[in-house]
Symmetry: D4
Subunit: 163 residues, 8 copies
Amino acid sequence: MKKVGLVMGSISDLGAVQPAIDLLKELEIPFEAHVYSAHRSPAEAAAFAKGARENGFGVLIAAAGKAAHLAGALAAQTTLPVIGIPVKSSTLDGLDALLSTVQMPSGLPVATVAIDGSYNAAMLAAQIISLSDAQLADKLDKQRASMHDSVLEKDAELQKKLQ
Amino acid sequence: MKKVGLVMGSISDLGAVQPAIDLLKELEIPFEAHVYSAHRSPAEAAAFAKGARENGFGVLIAAAGKAAHLAGALAAQTTLPVIGIPVKSSTLDGLDALLSTVQMPSGLPVATVAIDGSYNAAMLAAQIISLSDAQLADKLDKQRASMHDSVLEKDAELQKKLQ
Amino acid sequence: MKKVGLVMGSISDLGAVQPAIDLLKELEIPFEAHVYSAHRSPAEAAAFAKGARENGFGVLIAAAGKAAHLAGALAAQTTLPVIGIPVKSSTLDGLDALLSTVQMPSGLPVATVAIDGSYNAAMLAAQIISLSDAQLADKLDKQRASMHDSVLEKDAELQKKLQ
Amino acid sequence: MKKVGLVMGSISDLGAVQPAIDLLKELEIPFEAHVYSAHRSPAEAAAFAKGARENGFGVLIAAAGKAAHLAGALAAQTTLPVIGIPVKSSTLDGLDALLSTVQMPSGLPVATVAIDGSYNAAMLAAQIISLSDAQLADKLDKQRASMHDSVLEKDAELQKKLQ
Amino acid sequence: MKKVGLVMGSISDLGAVQPAIDLLKELEIPFEAHVYSAHRSPAEAAAFAKGARENGFGVLIAAAGKAAHLAGALAAQTTLPVIGIPVKSSTLDGLDALLSTVQMPSGLPVATVAIDGSYNAAMLAAQIISLSDAQLADKLDKQRASMHDSVLEKDAELQKKLQ
Amino acid sequence: MKKVGLVMGSISDLGAVQPAIDLLKELEIPFEAHVYSAHRSPAEAAAFAKGARENGFGVLIAAAGKAAHLAGALAAQTTLPVIGIPVKSSTLDGLDALLSTVQMPSGLPVATVAIDGSYNAAMLAAQIISLSDAQLADKLDKQRASMHDSVLEKDAELQKKLQ
Amino acid sequence: MKKVGLVMGSISDLGAVQPAIDLLKELEIPFEAHVYSAHRSPAEAAAFAKGARENGFGVLIAAAGKAAHLAGALAAQTTLPVIGIPVKSSTLDGLDALLSTVQMPSGLPVATVAIDGSYNAAMLAAQIISLSDAQLADKLDKQRASMHDSVLEKDAELQKKLQ
Amino acid sequence: MKKVGLVMGSISDLGAVQPAIDLLKELEIPFEAHVYSAHRSPAEAAAFAKGARENGFGVLIAAAGKAAHLAGALAAQTTLPVIGIPVKSSTLDGLDALLSTVQMPSGLPVATVAIDGSYNAAMLAAQIISLSDAQLADKLDKQRASMHDSVLEKDAELQKKLQ
């Protein structure tokens, strides 16, 4: 199975990124996680992305806040799909990170998920990898069914509560 | 090769979506394009997404404006990756479509590209499909190299101009 | 009397929705409350809305946050009036939910109330039902009068305080 | 059948309001349209709303731009449902009118539709009136079905185009 | 001396308004403070504003949050200058109140101060009244001079600290 | 009668300011208009404001766009009331000018009107001056009555049109 | 004299950048202008910035729109001051470029000027270089004086016009 | 070495400014810090900026919140580079200060850093001064290298953690 490469701009983003790590583990998708900054270690970030396809990666995920350039910096070095997680910081409620991540120029997409949406970033990576892994596709279908059932259970509980 | 399913919420979005169609053709990626509305033909939109994986699709792309629910509505019916194109309409400069597309709840990602970014949506779809198609990966690398060279040519032209 | 159907996208919205439940009880308007997600249980949400008119509902209310598609998803399945409550979540201060709820395309209105405005959603539902229920109209007039008197009392108290 | 009262803050809003007038005529819903300003003729606006229920109105619609107080000013005088149309003006792309219309205080809802969404305002009024008018409900169902079919036709045309 | 009329839309705004009350007392400007809501007691609010000039008021101040119509509602009833204080509420950080207060239509200005700027509202009222009260003008000049001196003192303290 | 001092940051603002000039002339309020920039001629702007009260001015009006500091710069030099007109420029739809004008710190209010609201700025100045000029107060009342009548005429015309 | 390095992300930014080029020529400041994209030619952009100090540059200027990473990408490779020009594109009125440029993480400043503010970017570069070039400082003082005089002339013209 | 002049609009900004002071000390760059308000002590602020170049300053830094005019007010008095720090206050999350600082008119740039970005303001000042101080340039390069190494260390720690 292709690996997921999960890059965070700062170790302080680890908390925001943890749900992605947990989901990848749960789905048994191989991954590497790294701290590489688009600004403080640009060469390492670039090298990681440049070599990603031949090093067995299928998808990259980047999490960064404020002027969040990390996902775009990775996308500039690879034609693998790159997923961007805009991380909310102390001002502007994540809007700066969202716009910095999603508004990429023509030819260099970043697949952007919700602000602080690291769980969804891992889910999207899993969906991408599932295209060539029927077993993973199956897991995703089961997980979706379980989400569905959980909603119905909550509804049933609510009906009891309201009686 | 897996097909791309390109859905627009209204035929009036065809202009905004055309660059995606053109790129898919250029890259010789098989695709279907449809007009299905999350609100005016919800059953058809849902059925299309629900059957997409077994009908040979690998990625879905949805383009919609304003309260842009289409990508999310497709994502609710499949575990295939779904790409969302927020389309700018006559008010709010596309911000409404962007937030409606990207801010998806936990478990149901939409891979969002820039406002009116249909070219990038197709490029992202191609990157995803390239994971299991070395020839397409090769095309993408060549296309990227050509983008790179074009920038250098423009720089060279600028140098002449400025002398 | 026609029933109100109150749908929340997640059980975690129950707190935000409680003021609506309380007001409907206070006004003795029959209602059902459900947890149905536009994304996690789309079929149930659609079926509920599709059958609503013949199942004796007069108004639907939907509460959801972030890319809040629930009200729109219900509106796509019924010609009953649908009221949307944009719920504030951890980022963007409810602006995402507001725009996702209110900016509906032509032909499919959602009657949107203020962010976290569930009390007003129930009040609006009551106003709609009051069109064919003189007794309820009367209650609403009394309640309005009591709101009015309460303002005057507060003013009177303020006058004492300021002397 | 109950009448719809359609109020615009200025005669310059007539263009923005015309789609509502056209739909009400098409659906054969009786209506009155008026120019009453919350600021320039507050007494007339208030009197109109105050007497609306006993004068045979079932729903009020108010269209206004900028600091759009009109819908709220009507809502302050009646317990009929009041629908607000935020009208885009020369600055801020309608955001000022949207927030001024939708963010009403507790107890006084305004059923807000999209910016410049006068067609939807009339549709919402029709949906409300349809609760006690089976024939109108029928018309709305037919109109919805026709919207649905029109989408499928557009899709069929697109398939031909793409062959 | 002309009186200042200070109106708040809800008694819950008293905290936000207190700095205005304190400054008016400090400057010995006669004032009345009232709780009148544009929506819950519109007649009282209108009557207060309509009679304000002949009842000896020179300036009105209105404080309200969310869809903040109060200042505009007063301005509709008088040609006295009306000052608006946009009050921040639980969502949107006061932007809704600011736009609802400041974006008034042609002919009906509201003199808007900063979000939660009640101290400045009272100061502006004092400046207006000072036009025909030399003693008050003098007080304002002294107060301004004292503000100036306080800045210089703070700077002097900072110099000591930094040595 | 006290004079109005109308300052624009650039001669290019003259068009935006013209409605204020026209209204001041119509109301026969004496005024001076000047081009003084907070940034390009700060000393002249400061001197004008500093001497304004003793030079017979009663109100200052400042019009500026972008980082609109002019009104605040005048307010820093006088205890006269200062009215700010945020002027829309080529980006951000006037939001920058609005926030730069209205969000003044404690002690230094700027009476802010709507974006591009120069007519209202002059009206507000007239209202302020009317406090000590009964004849002007009378004119304002007449003008308000004429605005009111004009709305009713428009409504009457609309009734004819709709028959 | 140290050179200014002016980099644009795309040749389509040349129009937006022209005022900077013109001012640098006018002030006789040596400069190079290049088209290097942070995303399409990241290696060239990085190499240019990395070698800038020893190649005789004193300041870098970067102009880019949308998710404007260019200034940040240069800043990551040099400790020279880097000036960022956010360029307005077809959506969001330049807000995306502004936030992507200015909200840089700790340790890597970008000196951001106004949206589309390329003239000011060159002026800022000139101010920086003037620190070690008394003649340039002199030119800047003269240019400032001429700006000042031009405002006074405009004011004088206005006085004639208004008589 | 040229001095840095660090001005805050209020002593309450000292906390926000402290990281700048600390970095200047660490880099052994001579500086003066002052409390001067653009509004409460405009003459002192202007005099400080006007004399700055001949008093040995090379760069000015201004920190202010809300309608943040301080940086612009200094820029109006000197042709030295002026750096602006937008300080977040209790409403609008710093957006008001950012726009008030960055959107300067043609000819008067303010080098704006991130909201609450005082550390970066000092870094930018250091970069500017480093143009004529090879030793400082060296320190900056070392500091940058240490930032780089710290990222790699964090990555190494993460690898251990994830095993």
